[in-house]
Point group: C2
Chain length 410, copies 2
């Protein structure tokens, strides 16, 4: 209305964000890349072309972006089947464990070697841990590999390292908020995050089916979707009250509602809300990238080194389950893309002041490159393994595993 | 995240708003009342029980509520068929014209008689003009009267007085923002609002079909809904830039997209977003009601007088088309409920300082009472007219018209 001269500005900012993220998201998808990459680039472009626009509306855009992260983690939780994780079992667990410990440790030491202080180095290591479930699943599905053993192992491992990554994130969030870095407090914060998820699942699985069964009978339109969202917001708040992070609560809410009969309806309305809120988060992360840091040799060195560590450590994780006779290189490469969780780490590090703009740009670069290289690599690996079967010409090195896997499933 | 101690508060506020509006909206619907009444009461309760909660998150809740109004007017526009308005023709136009002029004039003079100054008295008159399309349509549809001539006339008139009400609103918004109250400037602002809608429809009807035809072929998920929203936000901004109000632009965007083949999909995602945003607006209006003013004799006198004028003037408007031989009382009563637009007037008046808290409460009371009395009155009128036909015992006064209408359609 006329008296608030910032509200029309907010409207225009939202128009710019929606138009740019959808346009570049579409271009990314047509180039066989995930849409999130386009949304990030849209944010970078908006931040560069219209300096100040992304911050004009200040606290409101910021709050919309944070609601976007909460809704995103709620969506990821809704897609995650805790029980099927148990079924994929040992193989995924080993891939996930190695795929968390290795990048975290290597990332930390690479950062320290580059002269980074302890806490930012921990944030760097942590940002390397979590594979993007969405990106891996989408690419493997496009290649017809999602139902094969390798695809199932990747999915399971990606979900596990998401959970572990979120726990690390809640520890890092508490640390960057000023808590002392003592082994006991790290243990305590991890215990709170794990305890919160376990307790929420135990209580939630008893309460949610009855509660949402009642809500389903409500006549007022949109009640089920609204109730799901309120449930996610409530658990997100409860997680912070318990000393953990909002995203842990939102994720736990999704896990709980995954197994209710009302999931499909809740998912539909959450996805629609997500289409509005989530790109605001990715765009605001992209807009936080200071383009001047891209020409900074320190940024390029850190970004290059972290990207290399990010790729090699996940590929190595693919080889960790030594007993598995499938395409280990395919598993490793599929674990490479970092996405949402890595960006949340970077954004949180920047907002809290733990990360310098240079390190923030280096981590954003790492997320973009790992996401960017995976789809063509996977397409080539799957093509090679198919060709390998047809021509009986295995080649050497990692191709052995690819062929073994292809034969197994042929 | 841990470092923003207001974000968890925002989450909790949203949980309280969602839970209270959906619960009381459901209770309202079960009592055969529109859900918006429950949402308003939810806001009153939240404002009273948790003083400060609705304002704790300050600018963010305010911005979400304003986005709610824009989305609401976009939805109303999407439901409005400009061409069918032309078909209902003269009868609706006369009902609408009398139903705008009479309440506006009477409301203004009643307010002045109560000692209210010129500008707040104009706001009071203006808030009485617009019938709530949604409420009338819903109640008439429940009673099986929507397809009858009376129902069609009510729908047409309600849409026309919404448009006229919005134009009056844009004039009042500019006035309360400090512009001088001169006949020429009132004329100019009205011309801008009408001109904006006409120009937007002319340009939009040429551009939108091609534009949204292209967007429909986009693969990225949720693109069509996002594009519709961006279109509404863009026109809302353009309307303010042209010197009118955001809601004029959002309404025009809805009118334009109503006649595109992509309407159904855009409507679906807008409705889902509306389920989240719109109740925040109604709850924040309810929360603005200062309960202490309810015991204030001046408020009760003003609220009572305005409610009486609101009811009588719309009933009189039903009798305006003297040539129509249908149930005129039914038409008049169906025009009584004021809703969204009346609340927007009141909220805008309060925010700009033009309305005192007492007058704001009086207008909110008027909206609630007119909305509250209509459904049982309509049910009774329809029942009476049906009984009249069965027993051939017409009774006297307004019942003549009811019976004539019932015979016509029997």
């Amino acid at each position: 209305m006329a008296e608030h001269n910032t509200f029309p500005q907010l409207l225009l900012t939202l128009v710019a964000i929606i138009a740019a993220t959808k346009l570049l998201g579409e271009l990314a998808q047509r180039a066989k890349q995930p849409a999130v990459l386009g949304e990030l680039v849209a944010g970078v472009v908006l931040g560069a072309l219209l300096p100040g626009v992304m911050n004009t509306s200040g606290p409101v855009i910021h709050a919309l972006a944070e609601l976007g992260v909460v809704i995103l983690l709620f969506e990821i939780g809704l897609h995650t089947d805790v029980r099927s994780l148990a079924r994929v079992g040992g193989t995924s667990l080993v891939v996930a464990a190695v795929g968390v410990v290795l990048p975290f440790t290597l990332g930390y030491f690479v950062a320290v070697a580059l002269g980074v202080a302890t806490i930012p180095a921990i944030v760097c290591g942590a940002a390397l841990t979590a594979t993007s479930v969405g990106i891996s699943a989408r690419v493997l599905s496009d290649l017809g590999q999602l139902e094969r053993p390798e695809g199932q192992i990747v999915l399971g491992a990606a979900v596990i390292d998401d959970v572990v990554g979120l726990i690390i994130l809640s520890v890092v969030a508490t640390m960057t908020a000023g808590a002392a870095l003592e082994p006991l407090s790290v243990l305590r914060i991890s215990a709170v995050a794990v305890g919160f998820i376990v307790l929420a699942l135990l209580l939630g699985n008893r309460i949610a089916p009855t509660l949402f069964g009642v809500i389903e009978r409500v006549r007022v339109s949109g009640a089920l979707g609204a109730a799901g969202l309120a449930f996610a917001f409530l658990l997100a708040w409860a997680a912070t009250a318990a000393g953990s992070a909002t995203i842990i609560g939102a994720f736990a809410a999704g896990l709980i509602l995954h197994s209710t009969p009302q999931r499909a309806q809740i998912e539909r309305s959450t996805t629609t809300l997500g289409h509005f809120f989530v790109p605001i988060f990715f765009a605001s992360v992209g807009a936080s990238v200071d383009l001047r840091t891209l020409a900074n040799p320190a940024m390029l060195a850190a970004g290059g080194a972290l990207t290399l560590v990010a790729i090699l450590s996940k590929v190595a994780a693919g080889y960790a389950p030594w007993w598995f006779r499938g395409r280990k290189l395919l598993i490793g490469v599929a674990m490479v893309p970092r996405g949402e969780v890595g960006l949340i780490f970077a954004q949180m590090g920047l907002a809290s002041g733990a990360l310098s703009p240079v390190l923030f740009s280096a981590l954003t670069l790492m997320v973009m490159v790992t996401t960017f290289v995976t789809p063509p690599l996977l397409a080539r690996l799957v093509g090679d393994s198919d060709r390998g079967v047809r021509t009986d010409n295995p080649g050497e090195g990692g191709i052995d595993d690819l062929v073994a896997g292809a034969r197994e499933s042929a």
